[in-house]
C-alpha cells in the first residue's frame, strides 16, 4: 500500500513536470533553422524527393548507421543469448501443428509480401517508406512462413551472410564517400541523377536497399531464433 501510494506520488510528480512542459509548449509556426535549410536545399544537395529519406540517409546518415547497428547488435546478442547453453538440443526439433490451408496461403502470400517490401525500400527516396519499412515488411513475410509452415527452412547461415554483406557494403559505401566525395556517407559518390526518378539521389537508393536487406534478415533472424527456442520446449 505504502509502495503504491509512493508510486502514485511519483507519477503525479512526473505528471506535474510534464504539465509544466505542456503549458510552456507553443505550436511551431515555421521550421527551425536546420530544417529550413533542408527544406530549401535538400533537393539540390541530396536529390531525394522524400526529404525524410534525405535526412535519414544523408544528413543524419551516421544515426542511421547506428540504427542499423542496433538492430544488428540486438540480433547478434539474441543469437548468442539463446544459443549459449542450448547447442546440443538444436537437432531434435518437435513438429508442431500445421494447417494445410494456412500453409498453402502463406506460400502464395510470401513472394508478394517480399515484392512489396522490395518496392518500399527501392522507392524509399521518392515515396514514403524506406529501408526500415521495407525490411520490416520482408521480415513479416518470413514471420508468416515461420508461423504457417511446419519446418520452416530458415537458413541462418544465408541470413547472416546477407546481413553481413549488406552491413559491410553500407560501411564501404560510407567510406567511399571519404575517398570519392566530400565525406563519410556522402551520397554523391554516384551522380545525383534526375530528381524524382528511381536512379536519383546518388547512393541513397543503394543504401536503402542494403538497409532493407539488412533489416529484413535481421528481424527474420531474431524471430527465427525465438521460434526455435520455443520449439525446443
Amino acid at each position: 500500500m505504502l509502495r503504491n501510494s509512493l508510486i502514485l506520488i511519483l507519477i503525479l510528480g512526473l505528471a506535474a513536470i510534464m504539465l509544466s512542459i505542456f503549458v510552456d509548449y507553443t505550436p511551431k509556426e515555421k521550421l527551425g533553422p536546420v530544417a529550413e535549410h533542408y527544406a530549401n536545399n535538400g533537393k539540390e544537395e541530396v536529390g531525394a524527393a522524400n526529404l525524410v529519406t534525405a535526412v535519414v540517409v544523408t544528413y543524419r546518415g551516421l544515426d542511421t548507421l547506428g540504427e542499423v547497428s542496433i538492430l544488428f547488435l540486438s540480433a547478434a546478442i539474441i543469437g548468442f543469448f539463446l544459443k549459449i547453453r542450448n547447442e546440443e538440443h538444436s537437432k531434435n526439433q518437435i513438429v508442431i501443428r500445421y494447417s494445410e490451408i494456412l500453409g498453402t496461403g502463406a506460400k502464395i502470400l510470401v513472394p508478394i509480401i517480399i515484392l512489396l517490401g522490395a518496392y518500399v525500400f527501392i522507392n524509399g527516396h521518392l515515396t514514403p517508406g524506406g529501408g526500415f519499412q521495407g525490411g520490416a515488411i520482408i521480415a513479416s513475410a518470413f514471420v508468416l512462413m515461420l508461423i504457417a509452415l511446419p519446418r520452416p527452412a530458415l537458413n541462418h547461415r544465408v541470413l547472416s551472410i546477407i546481413e553481413s554483406f549488406s552491413g559491410l557494403s553500407y560501411v564501404i559505401i560510407g567510406l567511399l564517400g571519404v575517398f570519392l566525395a566530400a565525406g563519410f556517407l556522402d551520397n554523391q559518390i554516384m551522380s545525383l541523377g534526375t530528381f524524382g526518378t528511381i536512379l536519383s539521389a546518388g547512393a541513397v537508393p543503394v543504401i536503402y536497399i542494403l538497409i532493407g536487406l539488412k533489416v529484413g534478415t535481421e528481424l527474420t533472424g531474431i524471430i527465427g531464433n525465438l521460434k526455435e527456442i520455443q520449439n525446443e520446449e
Binding site: 509512493l6 511519483l10 533553422p33 542496433i70 548468442f80
Partner: protein
C-alpha cells in the same frame, strides 16, 4: 594521421563482416576483432601523441558533404583522443583478457564487444545530441548483451534490471533532446550553445532531463542499484568494460554537455556526485563479494568525477588535470582489479589468500589497489592533491571533508582486501594459474599506471620537481628479487650510504639530524638483515620505499613533495608491517590511521596554500587565514604517526608483530617522521591559539598523557615486543611534550631525545628480536634465565634499559635532566610531575623486560638455545658504542642541536664549559658523573672481588626456598602478571577506553553502511522507483517547485 572516422568504420565493418565467418571459426572472429581494436587504439593513440607532442589543432570530422549543424560531425581534440584511446585500449585488452570466454560464447559476443567500443567512441567524439543518444543506446544494449556472457539467474536478472533502468533513462534523455530541438531547432551541440535561446521553462526542463539522464547513466546514489547488481553478477571482464569504458565515456559526456546546464544545476550535479562518492564508499565497506565491492568503488569514483566536473566553474582550468588524473587511475586500476577478480574467482574477499599462490598476480593486485586509492606515484594522487588544493583555494571546506572522508572509506575496504590477500590464514589449496592472454593486459595496465603517474606529474608545475630517484631505486629492487638476501642487503646498504654521502652536504643542520636518524639508522637496522637466509622476497622494495619516503620528507621543499614523501613512506612501512605474523588487523589499522592522518595533512596544506602564489613549505610560516585550523589539522596528522594518545591504537600490534629487524625500523625510525613533521610545523607556525588557549598547551597535555598511558600500558604487557611498542608510544609522548614547550630547552630535549630514543629503541628491539628469533615466542613469562645463553643480547638490553630509564650516568639521563630544566623554566609543573611519574613507571617495564627474559629461572626447553644471530648483534654493538660516547661526552650530541636551535630560540640556551652544562636553574656534568660513578663502582667491585674471590658458582635452581627445593622453573620464575598489585591499584587508568572507542567507531560505520545498502533490495521495480524519485527530488531542488 589516420582519420578518426576509420575508428567507426573499421569497428563497424569488422563486426558486420563477422557474419561471414562460420560457426567453427571463432578464433578467426576473435583475432579479427582484436586486430580491429588494436587498429583503433593505435589511431587514437597516434592522435593523442600528436596532440601532446606537436600541439596540433582540434580536428573536425564532417560526415557527408555538409557542414554542421546540417550534418552530424565528430570532433577529435586532445581530450577526445585521450578518452577514445582509453576506451579502445580497454576494448582491446579487455577483449584479449576475455578471449576464451568470448570465444566460447561464439562470434556474436565479439560483435557485442566491438559495438560497445564503437558506440562509446562515437559517444565521445560526436557533437550531435541525437547521435549521442543513438550511440549511447548501442553501447548500453551491447553491455546488456555482454552481461549474459555467463548465464545464470543472477546475471540474467541483473541484465534485465539494467535494461529496464537504462530504458527509462534513455527515454528521458530522448525526451530532453526532443524538447531541446523544439526550442533550438537544431541538434548540434555547438550550434545550440552559440544561439542565444530565450529562457523558456520548457527548455530548462528539457535541459534538466538531458543532464539528469547523463547523471543517471553515471549511477548516482541512491538510484544505482541496477548498476551495482550488474557489477556483482556479470563476468569480471564485462564489469571492467562497464566500469572503465562505459563510465569513462559518460564522464566525458558530462564534460561535454555541462555548458548546457545552468549554474545551479551544475552545482547540484556536483553535489550528487560527492554524495555518491561518500555513500558508495561507505556502503562499500560492508561488502564481501569482490565484484560488488569494486562496483561500489567504481560508482564512487565516477561520482567523484561528476562532482569535480560539476564544480569546474569553481575549480577553473585545472578541472581537466584533476579529472584526467583521477580517471586514469580509476580506469587502469579498476580494470586491473576486475580482471584479477576474474582470475581469482572467489566469492568472498576473505578467501583471497589464494592469490598468494601466484606472486605476480599478488604484486599486480597491490599496484592496482594503490593506484585506485590515490597513493603515489600513481596519477590519482596528484589528482586528489590538486582537487583539495583548489577546493581549499575556493574555500569549499565541506567539499574537502567529503572528498577526504569518502576516500578514507575506500581505503578502509580496499586495504582490508589487500590485507586478506597478502596475509589471511584461510588456506585454499588451488594454485592460481592465469593464462598468458590474461596476464598481458594486467601487466600492461600496471605498467601504464606507473607511466601515467609519471606523465601526470610531469604535467604538474610542482609535481615535476619531485625527486623520483630514491623511489626508482626502491622499485628497482623489485626486479632483482630473485637474488639472495646477502647481495640485496649489500646493495641496499650501499645505495643508502651513497645517497647520504652525496647529499648530506646540501642539508641544513635540522635536515642532517633527521637524515642521519633515517638513513644511518636505516643502514644499521638493515645490517641485521644479513641474518636472514634465502631471498626474503617483498622486503627490500618496500623497506627502501619507506626510506625513500623518509628522505623525501627531509628534502621536501614544497608541500606537495612533503606529502608525496609522506605517503610513500606510509606505503613502504605498511608492507613491512604486513610482513609480520598475525599482522592483518594491525597493518590495516596502521594504514587507516596513517591515511587518515595523511588526509588531515593534505587538508592542512590545502588551507595553508590559500592565497599563496606557490606551495613551498615556507608558506606555512606566513599564514593569515585559518592559522589555528591549519595548525590543528597538521598537528593531528603528524600525531597519527607519532602515535599520540587517542591515535595510538595501531602501534602496539603493528610494531610487536613485525619481524626482528622491521620492528626497530618502524619503531625507532619511522615514528620520527611524525616528529620531523611536528618540528617543521612548529618552526614555521610558532604558537597558535584557539581562543585563549595555546595549541602548545593542549599538546603538552596530550604529550604527557601519552607518555603516562604508553608507559603504564607497557608495564602490563606480557609480550616483550608489545611492551617495547607501548614504550615507544610513551617516548613519543615525551617528544611531543618537549616540542610543545616551545623553548630552547624543550626543543633541545625533544630533538636529542629523538636521537637517543632511536638508539635505545633500536637496540632493544634488535636484542629482543634476536631473542624471539631463537625462542619463537614473544611471551616473556615463557622465557627466563637467558643471561647465560645470550650474554651479548643481555648486555644490549641492560644498556638499553638504563638509557631508557634515564638513570645516570648513561646518556638517557641527559634527556631527563633537560626535560626538567625545561619544565621548571616554563613552569608547567603539573605536566612535569606527570612526566616524571611516567618516567618512573618506565622502570617497571624496564625491569620486567630484563628480569623476565634474562634473569630468574631458565626453562628446560631453552637449554640449548644459542646466542642471537651474529648479524643482529652487529648493529646493536655499533649503537652501544655510540651510546657510550654520548654518555661520556654529552655535548657532542647536545651542543650541535643547541646551535641549530639558536636562530629559532635564542633564549635559555645551555652554556657549555667542556662537558659542564649550565642553565639558568641547574647544572650537570656528564663526564664527571661518569668518572665518579665508574670510580666508586670500580673500588667497591674490587673490594667485593677481594672479599668473595672464592665464591662458588651454583646452579640456578639452588636457592633457599623455605627449606624445600622449588618445583618447576615455570612456577618458580615469577614473571606472569608481574605487576599485579599495581594493576589492582591503578590499572583502571589504562582500561581500553580508546581502543573501545575506535572499535565503536568502526562498528558504527559498518552498521550505517549496512543500513544504507538495504535500499538495494534487488527488486528491479524498486530500482526504477529510486530512479524516478531521484529525478523528482533533483527536479524539485533544482527548480524549487514544479
Amino acid at each position: 594521421m589516420v582519420d578518426p572516422i576509420y575508428i567507426v568504420a573499421v569497428l563497424l565493418g569488422i563486426s558486420f563482416s563477422l557474419g561471414f565467418i562460420g560457426k567453427k571459426s571463432e578464433n578467426i572472429a576473435g583475432i579479427l576483432s582484436l586486430l580491429a581494436l588494436g587498429f583503433t587504439t593505435l589511431v587514437s593513440a597516434q592522435w593523442f601523441y600528436n596532440f601532446v607532442t606537436a600541439d596540433i589543432e582540434t580536428y573536425h570530422i564532417f560526415t557527408t558533404a555538409f557542414k554542421p549543424p546540417f550534418s552530424i560531425n565528430l570532433m577529435m581534440g586532445k581530450e577526445e583522443a585521450l578518452f577514445t584511446m582509453m576506451i579502445n585500449a580497454i576494448g582491446l585488452f579487455g577483449g584479449l583478457y576475455m578471449f576464451d570466454r568470448l570465444k566460447a560464447a561464439g562470434k556474436n559476443s565479439f560483435i557485442a564487444l566491438l559495438m560497445l567500443i564503437m558506440g562509446l567512441n562515437v559517444v565521445v567524439m560526436t557533437r550531435d545530441l541525437f547521435n549521442l543518444f543513438v550511440f549511447l543506446e548501442i553501447s548500453s544494449i551491447a553491455v546488456a548483451g555482454l552481461i549474459v556472457l555467463t548465464q545464470n539467474t543472477k546475471s540474467i536478472s541483473a541484465g534485465f534490471k539494467f535494461m529496464i533502468a537504462t530504458g527509462i533513462i534513455s527515454g528521458l534523455l530522448l525526451l530532453g533532446i526532443a524538447f531541446i530541438y523544439n526550442y533550438a531547432g537544431s541538434l548540434n551541440i555547438d550550434h545550440i550553445l552559440t544561439q542565444n535561446l530565450e529562457a523558456a521553462k520548457g527548455l530548462s526542463i528539457a535541459i534538466f532531463f538531458l543532464m539528469i539522464a547523463i547523471v543517471l547513466e553515471m549511477k548516482p546514489f541512491p538510484a544505482n542499484g541496477w548498476g551495482l547488481d550488474v557489477y556483482s553478477s556479470a563476468e569480471s571482464g564485462v564489469s571492467s568494460l562497464l566500469s572503465s569504458a562505459y563510465a569513462t565515456a559518460t564522464v566525458f559526456v558530462l564534460m561535454k554537455l555541462l555548458p548546457f546546464a545552468p549554474e545551479n544545476l551544475q552545482f547540484l550535479i556536483a553535489a550528487i556526485g560527492i554524495i555518491t562518492f561518500v555513500f558508495s564508499n561507505l556502503m562499500g565497506m560492508r561488502q564481501d563479494n569482490p565484484n560488488r565491492m569494486l562496483g561500489y568503488s567504481s560508482i564512487s569514483q565516477i561520482g567523484l568525477l561528476a562532482a569535480v566536473i560539476g564544480i569546474s566553474s569553481v575549480i577553473g582550468e585545472y578541472t581537466y588535470f584533476i579529472v584526467i588524473s583521477i580517471l586514469i587511475s580509476h580506469f587502469l586500476a579498476k580494470s586491473g582489479l576486475f580482471w584479477i577478480a576474474g582470475i581469482v574467482k572467489q566469492e568472498s574477499i576473505k578467501n583471497w589468500s589464494v592469490l598468494r599462490s601466484n606472486k605476480l598476480l599478488l604484486v599486480l593486485f597491490g599496484v592496482f589497489i594503490f593506484a585506485l586509492t590515490g597513493l603515489p606515484p600513481f596519477p590519482g594522487f596528484f589528482g586528489k592533491w590538486e582537487l583539495v588544493m583548489h577546493l581549499a583555494e575556493t574555500k569549499n571546506f565541506i567539499w574537502i571533508f567529503a572528498v577526504l572522508i569518502g576516500s578514507f572509506f575506500e581505503v578502509v575496504y580496499m586495504f582490508r582486501w589487500l590485507g586478506y590477500a597478502v596475509k589471511n590464514d584461510i588456506i585454499i589449496e588451488t594454485k592460481l594459474k592465469a593464462k598468458i592472454h590474461q596476464i598481458i593486459p594486467l601487466l600492461l595496465f600496471a605498467a601504464a599506471a606507473f607511466g601515467a603517474g609519471y606523465y601526470v606529474s610531469s604535467e604538474h608545475p610542482y609535481a615535476s620537481l619531485i625527486n623520483y630517484l630514491p623511489l626508482a631505486v626502491a622499485l628497482g629492487f623489485a626486479f632483482i628479487e630473485f637474488l639472495p638476501v646477502f647481495i640485496k642487503n649489500t646493495l641496499a646498504i650501499a645505495a643508502m650510504a651513497a645517497y647520504f654521502y652525496f647529499n648530506y652536504e646540501s642539508y641544513n643542520e635540522l635536515q642532517v639530524i633527521f637524515a642521519a636518524i633515517f638513513i644511518i639508522g636505516g643502514i644499521l637496522t638493515l645490517i641485521a638483515g644479513y641474518a636472514y637466509k634465502g631471498k626474503r622476497q617483498g622486503f627490500y622494495p618496500f623497506a627502501l620505499m619507506m626510506f625513500a619516503g623518509l628522505i623525501g620528507l627531509v628534502e621536501a621543499t614544497t608541500t606537495l613533495e612533503f606529502f608525496f614523501a609522506w605517503e610513500l613512506m606510509t606505503i613502504g612501512s605498511y608492507f613491512l608491517i604486513l610482513r609480520g605474523k598475525k599482522s592483518i588487523k594491525h597493518a590495516l589499522s596502521y594504514i587507516l590511521f596513517s591515511i587518515g592522518g595523511a588526509y588531515l595533512i593534505l587538508a592542512g596544506f590545502g588551507l595553508a596554500a590559500i592565497g599563496k602564489p606557490d606551495i613551498s613549505i615556507g608558506i606555512l610560516s606566513n599564514i593569515e587565514l585559518y592559522a589555528p585550523w591549519i595548525f590543528g589539522l597538521l598537528a593531528i596528522g603528524f600525531m597519527t604517526k607519532t602515535a599520540s594518545i587517542g591515535l595510538h591504537i595501531w602501534l602496539p600490534g603493528a610494531h610487536a608483530e613485525a619481524e626482528a629487524d622491521v620492528s626497530p625500523m618502524v619503531s625507532a625510525i619511522l615514528l620520527k617522521a611524525g616528529v620531523f613533521g611536528l618540528i617543521m610545523l612548529f618552526l614555521a607556525m610558532g604558537e597558535q591559539f584557539i581562543g585563549n588557549i595555546s595549541f602548545a598547551y593542549i599538546l603538552s597535555w596530550v604529550g604527557v598523557i601519552t607518555a603516562l598511558m604508553g608507559n603504564m600500558m607497557a608495564a602490563f604487557q606480557e609480550d616483550a615486543k608489545r611492551l617495547l611498542a607501548y614504550s615507544s608510544i610513551g617516548a613519543l609522548g615525551y617528544v611531543l611534550f618537549g616540542l610543545s614547550l616551545m623553548s630552547h630547552l624543550g626543543w633541545l630535549t625533544a630533538i636529542s631525545f629523538s636521537v637517543t630514543h632511536f638508539m635505545f629503541k633500536a637496540l632493544l628491539f634488535l636484542a629482543i628480536g634476536g631473542v624471539v628469533w631463537r625462542l619463537k615466542t614473544k611471551d616473556m613469562y615463557k622465557m627466563g634465565g637467558l643471561i647465560k645463553k645470550m650474554p651479548f643480547s643481555f648486555i644490549s638490553v641492560l644498556i638499553g634499559i638504563i638509557v631508557l630509564a634515564g638513570v645516570p650516568p648513561l646518556t638517557g639521563f641527559a634527556g631527563k635532566w633537560l626535560f626538567f630544566q625545561a619544565v621548571v623554566e616554563k613552569q608547567w609543573f603539573l605536566q612535569g610531575a606527570v612526566l616524571f611519574f611516567s618516567g618512573i613507571i618506565a622502570f617497571l617495564y624496564c625491569f620486567r623486560l630484563i628480569h623476565s627474559i634474562f634473569l630468574g629461572q631458565p626453562k628446560d626447553e631453552h637449554r640449548n638455545v644459542k646466542e642471537a644471530p651474529f648479524w643482529i648483534l652487529v648493529p646493536q654493538y655499533a649503537i652501544l658504542m655510540v651510546i657510550m660516547l654520548f654518555s661520556m661526552l654529552p655535548n657532542s650530541l647536545l651542543k650541535p642541536i643547541g646551535d641549530m636551535l639558536m636562530p629559532y630560540f635564542p633564549d635559555g640556551a645551555i652554556t657549555w664549559d667542556g662537558q659542564m652544562a649550565t642553565t639558568a636553574l641547574g647544572y650537570w656534568n656528564g663526564k664527571t658523573v661518569m668518572f665518579i660513578v665508574v670510580g666508586v663502582f670500580a673500588i667497591v667491585f674490587g673490594w667485593l672481588v677481594f672479599m668473595n674471590r672464592n665464591a662458588k658458582k651454583v646452579k640456578q635452581f639452588n636457592i633457599g626456598y623455605a627449606a624445600e627445593r622449588p618445583f618447576l622453573p615455570e612456577t618458580t620464575h615469577y614473571a606472569f602478571n608481574f605487576f599485579a598489585p599495581y594493576k589492582k591499584a591503578i590499572g583502571f587508568l589504562v582500561a581500553p577506553g580508546i581502543t573501545n572507542f575506535w572499535h565503536r567507531v568502526d562498528e558504527g560505520a559498518h552498521s550505517v553502511s549496512d543500513k544504507f545498502t538495504k535500499i538495494y533490495n534487488g527488486n528491479a521495480q524498486s530500482y526504477l522507483i529510486h530512479i524516478v524519485a531521484f529525478i523528482l527530488v533533483i527536479y524539485l531542488i533544482s527548480f524549487g517547485g514544479f
